[in-house]
């Protein structure tokens, strides 16, 4: 019967299509979502960065201005100040988080007993569970000159009181302290996983050969850990370079412009100055810096694994 064979043919064609495109079909929802929430906004923002769009002319019409926003941004002292703040903040906080994270990971790694260890890990991870805004509000209260507990404790100990957030240098370091407090557990977690997956044989061999603790750390632990360290550093560098929430709550970018990191600066240009095009150009510059950072990290990791 022709009708029947036609149907089976159709069926075959359909099932073959499904088989062939099965993976593609499974991925389709993700691809659509990514196109809608990543690719389209990114493209739009790149386009905006070449226009003179502001909040005020957004509906009434704006035009293409070529590279003017980029030239304007890159020649302003305020941009370079924010760039410096972001680089310093990201570099210093990542370095401190790495040192403390490694130290904690070693400590916990040496704890005997799974139960004891899991309790310690749970406690250490608590700061990571909090949202940055909550952390910033907590620190803001603790760092207050008149009613903050930090100054109270310091004055009890005879160390004096300090305007933690009211002084340009102290405010910068207060930000770093709050970030290190919250993000060290992240580094710790990655490094602990790294330590736990280390091969045991080289360490036993080193012990048999009578290597000192420092030698073991220098020649075995560090090289073996370079992978996890790079992962942690890359994540932290990128994340802290983009910091906005903590600064917005703790200092608002001040005092003066001492803590105005790039994202805070961009927010100011977009929403206090209404200049969407110019803010978009800053966003693209931030994107390029982050891509460069990631590329650098990957390169370093390849070199270190090759050696």
């Amino acid at each position: 019967m022709p009708a029947h064979s036609n149907k089976s043919l159709q069926h075959n064609w359909f099932s073959r299509f499904i088989e062939k495109r099965f993976l593609f079909l499974l991925l389709l929802p993700t691809i659509i979502i990514l196109l809608a929430v990543v690719v389209y906004p990114l493209g739009y923002s790149i386009w905006l960065s070449f226009t003179n769009a502001t909040l005020l002319n957004f509906l009434t019409g704006f035009s293409f201005v070529g590279l003017r926003n980029y030239l304007h941004t890159l020649t302003r002292a305020e941009f370079w100040n924010s760039f410096r703040v972001a680089i310093l903040f990201s570099g210093i906080s990542t370095a401190l988080e790495l040192v403390f994270g490694f130290f904690l990971a070693q400590l916990v790694y040496n704890i005997k007993g799974a139960k004891k260890r899991s309790i310690v890990i749970a406690c250490l991870l608590t700061p990571l569970m909090l949202t940055p805004v909550v952390v910033a509000l907590m620190w803001k209260l603790m760092l207050d000159y008149q009613i903050g507990i930090i100054n109270y404790l310091m004055s009890v100990l005879g160390l004096g009181r300090y305007p933690w957030l009211g002084d340009q240098t102290l405010a910068f370091w207060s930000l770093i302290i709050s970030d290190v407090w919250q993000q060290t557990p992240f580094v710790f977690l990655i490094l602990l996983a790294g330590l736990e997956s280390l091969p045991q044989e080289p360490f036993e061999a080193a012990r048999v050969d009578g290597a000192s603790r420092l030698q073991v750390f220098r020649f075995l632990t560090l090289p073996f850990m370079s992978g996890p360290i790079l992962v942690a550093v890359t994540f932290r560098l990128i994340d802290s370079f983009k910091i906005f929430d903590k600064i917005n709550v703790l200092t608002g970018g001040g005092p003066g412009t001492a803590t105005e990191a790039l994202n805070v600066h961009m927010h100011r240009i977009a929403f206090r100055w209404f200049r969407l095009g110019e803010a978009a150009s800053i966003a693209q510059i931030i994107l390029v810096i982050i891509v460069l950072l990631t590329w650098l990290a990957l390169r370093v990791s390849r070199i270190s694994t090759d050696s």
Partner: protein, 430 residues
């Protein structure tokens, strides 16, 4: 055949009901965007009564305080389904010039019961742009002088800024070891809000200065402007009558300091007066709170020139709203005399002269007479689309002075140059 007929009847009924649905549609639903806080709470308090009277439905879309302005800007630009927005008068000119708000004059002037003259004129001006009204004020904000009666009485209240400084010294341990408080008062210095510069404006205006001349050339960096900022920053840098972390003090910081009796007096927004009067929220100061006019500058004839700053919150209609008529009705009702009563009891401060001077409310809100008096001299900021940018330039300049990075003269000259460039680019002059 019968089956087909039933099916057709059924389908046509469905079609008719679908088409006619809007005609019988339930009461209009208005979406109102408000901000968490006293202003939003007061609006929520009047909504049930409005719904009962009109049968309309009101959906409150409440957004957080932080980033409220950003969210609002994006929502207005995207043309989302919001019919009424609660917004600050500072943005009226900007939103109106950008075509984001619908003009309201037609709705208002056609209705005589509105009694527009009852609103504080400065507040209507604050929501106007090029002769058109883009919102009606729900809340009026200005500055009051709050003091703790445990430490000082009425006779000690400063009339002038010089007396203010002397009083602050008296309550600062550095000058007076017997002072009950370590520092006399507090000023706001944290960036990201206009309040720090608002205090400077008030001093500048009282001294006879102006922010701009009639051609929009900056005047805030003239002798008076510099002297006013020298005084304001001097409270910290020169005399040290405020805590050393003023550059990071936001609203919460100064409020907390006064509530915890860490400072003897505080000039701040009138919306905080309600917080200080509430024994639950401010157990230490609620029963010993004094409220009066902010200080000023004594004139040759002996009078005091006080220039408290005022701005307000109000309700406007987004240009994209599809229920403009209903939205206007809602706004008229909420800002009307009837709702003002509920609004006031809920902690809001309606911008109507007849309400604030009504003796009936004084027992619940004892600060009202002082507030009404303050609003007689209150001064508004310039209502131009570029205000937010100008304000930001001045905020950064102010902050740089407070940390000792620049002198008042240097910071204001730099700010004046930036403002001139900005206004030049906007076509105010060449």
């Amino acid at each position: 055949m019968t089956r087909r007929l039933t099916r057709m009847v059924f389908l046509s009924l469905l079609l008719v009901s679908l088409v006619s649905m809007p005609l019988f549609a339930a009461p209009t639903t208005i979406v109102v965007m408000t901000r968490v806080g006293p202003e939003g709470d007061a609006i929520k308090a009047v909504v049930p009564e409005y719904e009962r009277i009109t049968g309309n439905k009101v959906v409150i879309d409440e957004a957080g305080r932080d980033g409220y302005f950003e969210r609002q800007a994006i929502s207005l630009m995207a043309g989302t389904d919001v019919d009424v927005i609660l917004y600050m008068s500072d943005y009226a000119a900007a939103w109106a010039s950008a075509g984001l708000l619908a003009p309201m004059s037609d709705y208002l002037h056609s209705d005589e019961s509105m009694d527009l003259d009852d609103f504080y004129p400065a507040m209507i001006d604050a929501f106007s742009y090029k002769g058109e009204i883009y919102g009606l004020p729900t809340d009026v904000s200005t500055w009051l002088f709050h003091y703790n009666t445990k430490f000082l009485d009425e006779t000690q209240v400063p009339e002038t800024y010089d007396e203010y400084l002397e009083l602050a010294k008296q309550f600062t341990k550095k000058y007076n070891p017997d002072s009950p408080t370590e520092y006399g008062t507090n000023v706001r210095g944290m960036r990201g809000s206009e309040s720090p510069i608002a205090e400077w404006f008030q001093i500048l205006w009282a001294m006879g200065g102006e922010l701009f001349d009639e051609n929009w050339r900056p005047r805030f960096n003239d002798e008076i402007g510099v002297a006013a900022l020298e005084f304001h920053s001097g409270l910290f840098l020169e005399w040290g009558v405020v805590p050393p972390d003023v550059a990071s003090l936001d609203a919460a910081g100064v409020i907390e300091s006064f509530r915890q009796e860490k400072s003897a007096f505080l000039q701040h927004w009138n919306s905080d007066t309600v917080i200080f009067m509430d024994p639950e929220r401010s157990p230490r100061v609620a029963n010993n709170l004094g409220v009066t006019l902010i200080p000023g500058v004594r004139q040759p004839d002996g009078t005091i020139r006080r220039t408290p700053l005022t701005h307000g919150w109000g309700l406007g209609i987004p240009a994209s709203s599809r229920n403009k008529e209903a939205a206007a009705d809602f706004i008229k009702w909420v800002t009307g005399t009837e709702a003002a009563r509920i609004y006031l009891l809920a902690g809001g401060t309606p911008a109507r002269q007849s309400v604030l001077s009504n003796p009936e409310f004084v027992s619940v809100r004892p600060e009202l007479p002082i507030l009404a008096e303050t609003l007689k001299y209150a001064k508004a900021k310039p209502s131009i689309p570029e205000w937010a940018q100008i304000s930001d330039i001045l905020q950064v300049a102010h902050s740089r002075v407070f940390v000792g990075e620049l002198t008042p003269k240097e910071a204001l000259d730099d700010a004046a140059q930036q403002v001139t460039e900005l206004l030049k680019a906007a076509g105010y002059y060449n």
